[in-house]
């Protein structure tokens, strides 16, 4: 225990004396969450909309008026034929076309969903406005015909909810920082020659590995807290489930990421390699195979299997269930068990591997 404490003290000093690195480590999550936060801002206004009506009637005029009055839409009257509209949409100057058929009885909304959030919100607003107007007419018994509203999402048929992003960022950022932090810590001792001295001392390798995770665990909890606070207060993402469950799972995930970094550290020869390798090993699967951006269910079978070994996949899944859906242990025990298993495997391998590349 005395050894453990002496070693933990040393690790804390290394970290706190390296002010610049410290600043980067604590700054990255804040910057990331704010960047993503504004990218997924759900408050969409000033949607540019154009209307095509070959044979205007009172219903069409009513719809036009209501769209025009809505604070969400800016009506672009000058785009009065479909060719001009399409060109304008292709250039990104138009968010939605409202097309009536020649009889003025059916309406089609064509939505530019190259920005999926903007697109889906435009569709929702417009549908609501039209449906509201219909109800209004029905109430006044002036309903001339039944209007069908048909939405077609073009450019990006896969619509995503903004809430889905925050768990993804947590999974990616926490793992990235934790892995990078520890990936250099053993390599650095090897580079400087202090590792040999430690190995010639009675310090157990397990003690060394666990002592190295303690200070980083503390820092990562600060990061976890800042991510959570920002997403709650700035991005207004609610925490539906238990905060304790979320914290506990996150500690497990942080520990797993630290162990992953240590394992990389035992296998690398220098600090630069260690940082690059850990960035690649975390970022690529973290972005592509974790379900953060691309839904796993839509992937080819082989990639779905591959995604099983990506820890972020399980963590993001848990965070979505706990944070967004408000579910508890009953539905996350399987994912949690997988994360525990992965952590044990990683810690075990790094303890066994710590001597490698020394000889």
């Amino acid at each position: 225990m005395k050894q453990f404490i002496a070693f933990v003290n040393k690790e804390f000093r290394h970290i706190f004396r390296d002010r610049r690195t410290m600043l980067i480590i604590l700054g990255i999550p804040v910057v990331q969450i704010l960047l993503f936060g504004f990218a997924i801002n759900t408050e969409v206004k000033d949607l540019h909309v154009a209307l095509y009506a070959p044979s205007p009637n009172s219903f069409i005029n009513g719809v036009t008026e209501r769209l025009y009055q809505s604070e969400y839409f800016t009506y672009r009257a000058e785009l009065d034929d479909p060719i001009k509209m399409e060109e304008s949409m292709r250039k990104g100057k138009l968010d939605m076309m409202v097309l009536f058929d020649s009889k003025g009885e059916a309406v089609q909304l064509i939505i530019n969903s190259s920005d999926p959030n903007r697109g889906s919100i435009a569709a929702t607003y417009a549908t609501a406005i039209i449906a509201g107007y219909q109800q209004e007419l029905a109430g006044m018994r002036k309903m001339p015909f039944q209007i069908e509203v048909e939405n077609r999402m073009i450019y990006n048929p896969e619509m995503k909810s903004a809430y889905m992003f925050v768990p993804g960022i947590m999974g990616l950022v926490l793992m990235l920082i934790c892995t990078m932090m520890t990936s250099v810590s053993i390599v650095r001792e090897k580079e400087r020659g202090t590792m040999e001295v430690l190995l010639a001392s009675p310090l157990k390798q397990g003690t060394m590995v666990f002592a190295k995770t303690v200070p980083y665990l503390a820092i990562s909890l600060v990061n976890f807290a800042s991510i959570l606070l920002l997403s709650y207060y700035v991005l207004k993402v609610p925490i539906q489930g238990s905060l304790w469950t979320l914290t506990l799972i996150s500690i497990l995930y942080i520990f797993l990421s630290l162990a992953f970094g240590l394992l990389i550290s035992t296998l690398m020869r220098n600090q630069i390699n260690a940082v690059i390798i850990s960035a690649i090993l975390v970022m690529l699967p973290g972005l592509l195979l974790s379900g953060m951006i691309f839904p796993i269910e839509n992937m080819p079978q082989i990639l779905q299997w591959l995604s099983h070994i990506v820890p972020a996949r399980w963590y993001i899944d848990i965070v979505r269930k706990v944070m967004i859906q408000g579910l508890g242990w009953a539905v996350i025990w399987r994912e949690t068990t997988i994360l525990v298993g992965m952590s044990l495997l990683l810690v075990g391998s790094s303890i066994l591997n710590i001597k490698s590349r020394l000889e």
Binding site: K2, Q3, I5, A6, F7, N9, K10, R13, H14, R17, D18, R192, G193, T194, E196, V197, L198, L199, A200, S201, P202, L203, K355, L358, E359
Partner: protein, 245 residues
């Protein structure tokens, strides 16, 4: 006096390459034993086996009374080690380094505090107690590293090229510290590049291509090889090396 290191047929192979080839020797208690050899002769690998850092591929041996094949944990408690590269943490203060290694060797808090004062006083280092190690001159760093290596009063201390790059005046001071340690009963096992330092040792072995080609007192070695200095002895033996670095 008994032997604190006894090694028979000690061998280390990496694949097809035999870094250390069946070396056998004894080191007596309280002795200053010079372990010489050109770069790549296998000195560091041999030391790592003696210190329990790496497992031998063959052969037997006892260090500080414990079996190097089976009791490496016990060996580690009874030795000190100063590596070829710098052994202390540059971003820790002088006292923090001492405290860390005291803690790693399991010394009680109070004892660490007392011994730290004593050590700083002896080295005339008190004013540097709070200095970051990275801002000390190299010679001072090496003196401090040696003091830390013997802080827990080991039976044997292994020094892997402790004076590399240090100026001659500082090297003298360093060797005075080695003599002090030997007088206190600590056996010193030292590798060096400087042949004048080899003359300071009680006995010297010379490694060539993974084998020990000569082992005796410096005086005897000079006589056997009919040489005026250790430098000449060494050059003559090292010239036979076939291994390319």
């Amino acid at each position: 006096m008994g032997s604190v290191i006894e090694v028979k047929e000690l061998t280390k192979r990496f694949g097809n390459f035999t870094a250390v080839d069946r070396i056998s020797f004894d080191v007596k208690e309280g002795e200053i034993f010079g372990f010489l050899g050109a770069n790549g002769a296998g000195k560091t690998t041999a030391i790592q086996m003696l210190c329990g850092i790496s497992k031998p591929s063959g052969g037997t041996g006892r260090v500080a009374g414990y079996d190097i094949n089976k009791e490496s944990e016990r060996i580690k408690r009874n030795i000190g080690y100063m590596s070829q590269r710098f052994s202390l943490y540059e971003d820790l203060r002088v006292w923090e380094n001492i405290r860390l290694f005291g803690g790693i060797y399991g010394l009680p808090e109070k004892m660490i505090a007392e011994k730290t004062n004593e050590l700083l006083e002896r080295l005339d280092f008190e004013s540097e107690r709070n200095t970051m190690v990275k801002s000390l001159p190299l010679g001072w760093k090496q003196k401090l590293a040696f003091s830390v290596a013997i802080f827990h009063e080991p039976k044997i201390v292994f020094l892997d090229e402790p004076t590399g790059g240090v100026d001659p005046a500082m090297r003298r001071q360093f060797w005075e510290m080695i003599y002090d340690a030997a007088e206190r009963g600590i056996t010193v096992f030292v590798t060096t590049h400087y042949m004048d330092e080899a003359e300071y040792c009680d006995r010297v072995s010379i490694m060539v291509d993974g084998r020990i080609d000569a082992l005796d007192t410096p005086k005897e070695l000079r006589r056997i090889h009919n040489a005026a200095s250790m430098d000449e002895v060494f050059t003559r033996l090292a010239r036979q090396a076939k291994r390319v670095e």
